[in-house]
């Protein structure tokens, strides 16, 4: 690194960057974990044959997919206090990411469920299984296979999308980049490093998604 960069960026800045990186990862894991639970229910509801289950699920998915994440972030951030919930920023942000990712994941879940052949359902019914049993023992284990490649793709999206949380001043990777730019005026270098860190997280995952897609390709 050239001398003038070393003069303005020091070891403390590197630590700050790593903290930001850690917070980004935490945020994504929280968003992914909680989103997965909601997505499972919303996806099952979306694939259900009862209209009063599938329509609300479809509406939920559509509204979230047709509005910007930035708006959802602001809405959650300002709506939670109205509901009387004074939560730390982290929780509000994780909640917004969870809402957003759950809608996209629900579609992946639905596609996975619908990819399981109809004969499997008939066979399960023939064996006397109920709806819950069929889902639990027959459909979901097979659907899971189909869901992995798009799921990894979604995780990459989530890592990138979590950068938006910086607008609400949560100290994650992008926000650290802004702080360091304001301090050092080395925008190219700082955002270059920030971008490289995101790339280091996302690129292996995108290779993994490709590999999984080839490996887990369901026959047919």
């Amino acid at each position: 690194m050239p001398q003038y960069v070393q003069d303005r960026l020091n070891i403390y800045d590197a630590i700050l960057l790593l903290q930001g990186l850690g917070n980004t990862i935490l945020l994504c894991l929280a968003g992914l974990g909680l989103g997965l639970v909601i997505a499972l229910f919303v996806g099952l509801a979306r694939a259900a044959h009862f209209r009063w289950l599938s329509w609300p699920a479809a509406l939920y998915i559509e509204i979230i997919r047709d509005s910007p994440l930035l708006m959802q972030l602001y809405l959650v951030f300002f709506a939670l206090p109205l509901l009387g919930l004074n939560v730390p920023i982290f929780v509000a942000e994780a909640a917004a990411l969870m809402l957003n990712s759950s809608a996209f994941m629900a579609e992946i879940v639905r596609a996975g469920i619908q990819a399981v052949g109809k004969d499997q359902l008939d066979a399960a019914r023939g064996l006397g299984m109920g709806y819950v049993q069929t889902m639990r023992h027959v459909v979901i284990p097979q659907a899971f296979r189909v869901m992995i490649p798009p799921g990894v793709g979604l995780l990459i999206g989530l890592i990138k999308d979590s950068s938006i949380v910086s607008v609400i001043s949560y100290i994650e990777l992008t926000r650290v980049g802004q702080i360091l730019t304001e301090k050092t005026f080395l925008s190219f270098q700082v955002f270059g490093i920030v971008a490289a860190l995101y790339f280091a997280m996302c690129y292996p995952l995108s290779r993994l998604a490709l590999y999984a897609e080839r490996r887990l390709k369901v026959g047919g």
Partner: protein, 222 residues
Amino acid sequence: MHGYVFQFGEVFRELPMLLDGALTTLHISLLTLLFSLVVGTIGALCRMSDIRWIRVPAIWYVEVIRNTPLLVQLFFIYFGFSQINIDVSNYTAGLVGLVVNNGAYLTEIVRAGIQAIHKGQFEAGYSLGLSFRQLMRYVVFPQAFRVVYPPLCNQFIGIILWSSLVSTISVHDLALRGKELASTTFRSFEVYTVLTLIYVSITLVISGALKLIGRQLFRQPA
């Protein structure tokens, strides 16, 4: 709800101002689509080139852009321009950021479209004595467009939604107008609810219109 009284009146009074912002959003999205279609087409041709030093940079362009956040790319370009003393408006910086970003996605979409065309079409074109340019113009692109159209529409919807990020570099689009309104009226929740609904209606109307246009364009000849 702790006795919170919803007041949408103040938001609706400023609706013309918000719709003006929506125009900026549409404007920047449309320009982004056009320019990134050019970037994507050039990118796809480079990406499929037999020449290594053309193909490899195109591959890395796509990989780097797709594996880093749009917001970071916008900051890189916006603050980077000022670091090297290039004086551009916020709008231009935002547009460049969006084009660089979507160019990479469109590269992949256009490539998939071209690769979907049967090898026989290329061979037939060459055996008719068409040059590479003619082959692309008269044989490949018209057919590829049919394949590319649906993902292109999705990408356009994505552009409209993600263009909200240019509000962070002070481009006066819908999102920024809303933010300003929220900070003057202190009606954040109402403002962002209305804003979300405006975005949802814009995307629904446009995706519906694009579907109709697509049906007209690609009607199977009787």
